[in-house]
């Protein structure tokens, strides 16, 4: 079956089985391998992407459910080849160790920044509670998100 949706601002069309996971469509059909598979059961958050402004696990969504949707993956964060505020903060704070959780962390964090919630430590921790880092580098990740949220908050004013 044919499905059409927007990925990182451009229209994508794929011809795949309707129950194929969004995760696999992104990686295999659209060659967007930034999105990672961890557990494949909605526990680890490595496959997080933003669909219609909501962060979701792409391993739990069949492609038939994103027909007509707008999807943002980690490849869509950078602007004109330059890392966005969050990515720069992750670099600055050393918030990536092995890096497998990083794309998912960035998408959960992006969703948190977009929600304009107050970037307290607790709120940030809740926002990334669905993303596991096996290197357990959470402190730097939370630091980076807090800093980026603060900067984004300032630049909006």
């Amino acid at each position: 079956m044919k499905f059409s949706f927007v990925v990182n601002g451009s229209v994508s069309e794929v011809e795949v089985m309707p129950m194929k996971r969004l995760l696999d469509v992104l990686r295999e059909d659209l060659c967007l391998t930034g999105t990672k598979e961890g557990c494949g059961e909605g526990e680890c958050g490595a496959c997080s992407v933003i669909v219609d402004s909501k962060v979701v696990n792409s391993c739990l969504i069949p492609v038939c459910q994103v027909e007509g949707s707008s999807i943002l993956t980690v490849e869509g964060l950078a602007r004109d080849g330059k890392p966005d505020l969050l990515q720069r903060a992750f670099l600055e704070f050393g918030a990536a160790q092995c890096g497998i959780c990083t794309p998912g962390m960035l998408m959960a964090a992006r969703s948190f920044l977009d929600s304009a919630s107050e970037p307290t430590r607790d709120n940030v921790r809740i926002a990334i509670a669905g993303n596991l880092c096996r290197c357990t580098g959470y402190i730097k990740i939370v630091d980076a998100i807090q800093q980026a949220a603060g900067m984004e908050g300032t630049s909006h004013e």
Partner: protein
Amino acid sequence: MTDPAKVYSVQTVDAALNILDGEKDVRILAGGTDLMVLLNARQFRAPAFLDIWKVNELRGIRDEGAWLRIGALTSFSEIINSRLTRTWTPLLVEAALTIGAVQIQNRGTLGGNLVNGSPAGDSLPVLAVLDAEIDIASQSRGTRTVGYQDFYTAYRRTVLEADEIVTSIKVRKLEPGEKGFFYKVGTRRAQAISKVMMAARLAMNNGSIDSCAISYGSMTPVVRRAGRVEAALRGWVSGSALPESIQNLLEGELSPIDDIRSTARYRMRVARNLLARMLREVER
């Protein structure tokens, strides 16, 4: 991934009911947070799926006087962010906040949690104490309403027929003077299936319990009200100890099991401790 399953994607309840009426073996797919896990693990197969994710008429929360009506497809994020549920059924919001994390709350639906029927379904003890009423529709027989207490027939079995769909769930608002409680004990705060849950709604009068509703999750094959425990707590006077009979009553009402998440012995102890915690908190 080979995938021969046929998928019907519909946008209205009528279209959904039409498919269910004509197709024999079709599985309803909402947010996918339970079903996709089984499919990914190859623990479940179906020849056809009915995708209802875009049936927007099944979404939303409405104020109906003493009740809130919650569309079956309403996500836990919508429940968390709704002024109506925050005001009138805060215990349902507390339960929704413990479900997975943001990614799951954005996709998991109240109707899905109900129909999936896991004894560890986080919303179920809350639905039990809020006297939930479940609206069900089919093409050939129209609509019917089933009370929560009658919705399950056995472990993960519901009264739903193959051609039926849950359209909405009505929950009773807390009344003035009533307090709601929801406790979940799991390995960690997020992303953990519960070991023990307890939901309660109670009203005090002159320092003693006037009325109460209590339900435990993950403690019985079917989550229902713990009627004998409720009866024993009526008349409990603030500041006094748990009634002596409570241990026997809990053991009569609950039948926890040993499993990968916990032991039956631990669960019974926690069930009792959660009651004691609620009685301490109710005095505040």
